[in-house]
Symmetry: C2
Subunit: 527 residues, 2 copies
């Protein structure tokens, strides 16, 4: 706890706060060091005990709270930040969507540079800092919505802008006051894993978090990105799209998480064609100081020897470390080797009446799991017989494209099912990817002028059962579909069922119409 | 039939034709008046009779053929054009996707004119003709794919680049040869309804078809669009986005097909904020001749009197007329009052062994119905006991945005179900639409800089059954989802099932997460 002077801002004592009321208040609490208010939204007239205190009001804590409240329970969220919603809209998953949109738009603008209405971007570098500043200024708006919605629409109780301290499994201290609850739900999230090499702390080395919080200069013309997973690729493609030389330094292989080889090949080929450099089996060994505490270059150990790269901007995306220390120290909750908290399918930790949810309990550190784990903890506390495991789910990432998938890749499907039918676009032909399909919104200019850039998609079907066992898509506008298509897949979706659906042509996934071209075959054939 | 000299190009007598082989051949047959080849792809060694001749190889005929072939039947497509796929990729539904992408990109570029990497478009008009030319040059590629796929992958038999003439219910003549089949399937499509007023034939008056085929000049700074349905709006928004004054002249109301009032209000408000002028209850009474056969202006009768508008470019989208005349004359198939062919749920016309499919049988003149009606006709012919009706389906259109929907609007839901729960973004609040949600890819720049432009979405739930009864979305990237979400809706989708799904955040439809915030409530509440 900091030793600052706290004042209580009891928001129940005033009229409802609108979304626009909240904006400047949150901004002031975040930016003005003299604004030390604790946002206090507790119904002190309610004689009921709290069914749970949620320590952390991010996606997990807020959705868990909403569900508990909806079920008739009483909850209290305590969060160190002056807003609900946690890191996602503040510096984690939301900004990358803005940057990935910029990457997609910049790729389009560069592809058609000087043609149609597009500006001449030949050789031009666009600003990283402007986009970061746009995000930083704009993020107050989603924060305001979360606080508004949580109070006015969801009737949640919360204390914000003050860190909670665990006293025991029923008790948390915050801002000098002590609160008791029947249960404690840990939802303190995770933080970026630090870079472990000399010079890692220099000015000019960023994570997704510090990029948004601290970037105070316009990076030069070369970017070094450390890591080969989602975060590294998402931010790295944005940096590349701004026109900078961008080198990915990857300990093993880039985007190993893409299991279908052909899809991965398309994704990486397109990254390379944009100019991205990918150094695999490579290790950053040192970040060099320019003498004033700023980065001037990096040394990378590669399979071809040691390389020095001159740069003032290093970004690393090396995974997450759970914020589990306080709970381990104060309560002795059992941890996994990676520091995540051990929970059972009821989200219960090793300590009675203590639950853990969200990024704290490990991968996947995705929004759906955070929110649903919160929802399930609340349902369990409110007496429901529940069981939540998250071993299969749809997934996505951004390069300059959206990449979406579920199920397995072709290689694994052949191993598991023997006979497999592949339905894909572009079709297998001697012309390979030089074909103006798939086509759909945001891929039409490519389809008509640069066909190989118009995407790739693939449906994998176990021939005997005729069931879809994997779906993979590179393009735009299909991610949302994968959420719902995944539900149909879990219910046993077959090629015959797909053939019966009503496509909204030109649909980003061509799966329905392509299936219809083959579903009549008793013995399925590739397309 | 024209009196041209025909030569037969028997494509079975040569090696497989690749996609790239097909391109220049189709281009030559389309563009070179001396190239009078008939594309002949009939297996004359096959002793089996044809199960069906498909007169027309558009979406309906081609998909019907593919299904028949897959079921083991033998089919023959006859089409007047040198490619399969019909009007959709040639001049109907595909080009509007390119133009709608241009509209969306231009709206973005104009909104951020001179900021970030966007060009200064202030007061600038961009080319309509360049986009039309891009489409016209590029459409050969999808045509080539259709011909390739239909022959090499789907094993279809077809005769192209020669109109078929119906002789009787089993017999068609084409290019001087006569073919017999057990069944005849009519799939000759529809054409734009002509404009009915003086001057309608002047140079400068276009439909979606003639725009692509004939536009030979750069339109001036004012466009008059006649009609208030999908086609008029889709093309009109593109014209507006190029920077031209664009006036919609609508006999009754614009976009009456959007049944949810609030969604329609958002859509039309955003069109108006882009500068679109909408003249409802108005009628084009005359197109004026500049003396050389070109349009110089129009007269419009409006509720406020008669207006003259100076323009050299009029576009009308007034619906479709079925190409049913030949079938009516030759076979006497029964027609509806609007000229569409009467069919039963087995796609059978009034004449034995004659089926009709696609746009010929009436609304909805959408791709899914064309393709599925073809598939069902084939299944019926091949002995399956089928029944196809298309009374409920998901739907979409483009303004500068994608607009997707299924089910009913809020007004009808309240009438039908009494208690209704609304889940929507932006939320109801005193700030209305000035809220940075919904947000997702292609809406992020708006969400952070121009929030009211970031879209609108709404889920309508019958409170008692907890079932979704309508879904409405304005934005980008949700259309594909509506295809699959519609399937779940047809299976009885509830708010509770939505709350259990795994969202891919930031998902274009926020339906899953918003439902999760309310699903815990026994008595549902709006959000």
């Amino acid at each position: 706890m900091t030793a600052r002077t706290l004042t209580t801002w009891d928001i129940r004592k005033q009229d409802p706060l609108s979304i626009h009321d909240w904006g400047p208040e949150i901004d002031s609490m975040l930016e003005d060091p003299d604004d030390q208010r604790v946002v206090f939204n507790v119904d002190e007239t309610d004689p009921r005990p709290f069914d749970a205190i949620f320590l952390g009001g991010g996606a997990a804590g807020r959705f868990g709270s909403a569900y508990m409240r909806a079920l008739g329970g009483r909850q209290l969220i305590i969060d160190r930040w002056p807003f609900l919603g946690g890191s996602c809209p503040h510096n984690a998953c939301v900004p990358h969507h803005l940057f990935s949109e910029a990457a997609a738009e910049l790729m389009l603008a560069r592809t058609f540079s000087g043609q149609y209405w597009f500006p001449d971007l030949e050789g031009k570098i666009t600003s990283i800092k402007e986009m970061v500043d746009l995000f930083r200024a704009g993020r107050i708006a989603p924060h305001a919505i979360m606080n508004f919605q949580s109070k006015e629409q969801l009737d949640l109780e919360y204390i914000l802008n003050a860190p909670g301290r665990i006293i025991d499994s029923h008790t948390v201290e915050v801002a000098g006051r002590v609160f008791h609850a029947n249960n404690l739900i840990l939802a303190t999230g995770a933080r970026p894993r630090p870079l472990d090499c000399p010079g890692a702390d220099l000015h000019g080395v960023y994570t997704y978090e510090s990029l948004v919080e601290d970037l105070d200069y316009e990076p030069g013309d070369t970017v070094v990105v450390i890591g080969g997973g989602k975060t590294a690729v998402e931010y790295g493609c944005f940096f590349q799209a701004t026109g900078r030389r961008t080198i990915f330094v990857v300990r093993s292989q880039l985007l190993k998480l893409l299991e279908d080889g052909e899809t991965r090949d398309y994704v990486i080929t397109m990254m390379k064609e944009q100019g991205t450099e990918i150094w695999e089996d490579s290790l950053l060994t040192e970040v060099h100081n320019d003498g004033s505490g700023k980065v001037k270059g990096v040394t990378v150990s590669t399979p071809n020897g040691t390389e020095y790269v001159e740069t003032d901007f290093v970004f690393h995306g090396l995974g997450e470390i759970p914020n589990s220390e306080m709970a381990a120290d104060a309560l002795g909750v059992k941890l996994n080797d990676d520091g995540t908290i051990v929970v059972n399918p009821q989200m219960q930790t090793s300590v009675p009446n203590v639950y853990a949810i969200g990024d704290l309990i490990g991968t996947p550190m995705e929004m759906f799991k955070a929110r649903k784990s919160g929802m399930y903890a609340s349902r369990h506390i409110m007496g429901e017989d529940i069981h939540y495991e998250f071993n299969e789910f749809p997934d996505f990432l951004h390069t300059h494209y959206e990449v979406s998938w579920f199920g397995i890749g072709e290689e694994e499907a052949r191993e598991r099912y023997g006979e497999v039918t592949i339905i894909k676009m572009p079709p297998d032909s001697e012309d390979g990817w030089e074909v103006a399909l798939p086509a759909t919104d945001r891929m039409m200019l490519y389809a008509f002028a640069k066909p190989r850039m118009s995407g790739f998609q693939k449906l994998i079907i176990a021939s005997e059962s005729r069931r879809v066992v994997g779906a993979h898509h590179v393009g735009a506008g299909a991610r949302d579909a994968f959420q719902y298509l995944f539900q149909l897949y879990r219910k046993g979706l077959t090629i015959d069922q797909l053939a019966e659906m009503d496509e909204l042509f030109l649909n980003p996934t061509h799966f329905i119409q392509l299936s219809r071209l083959r579903a009549g075959n008793q013995n399925l054939r590739d397309l």
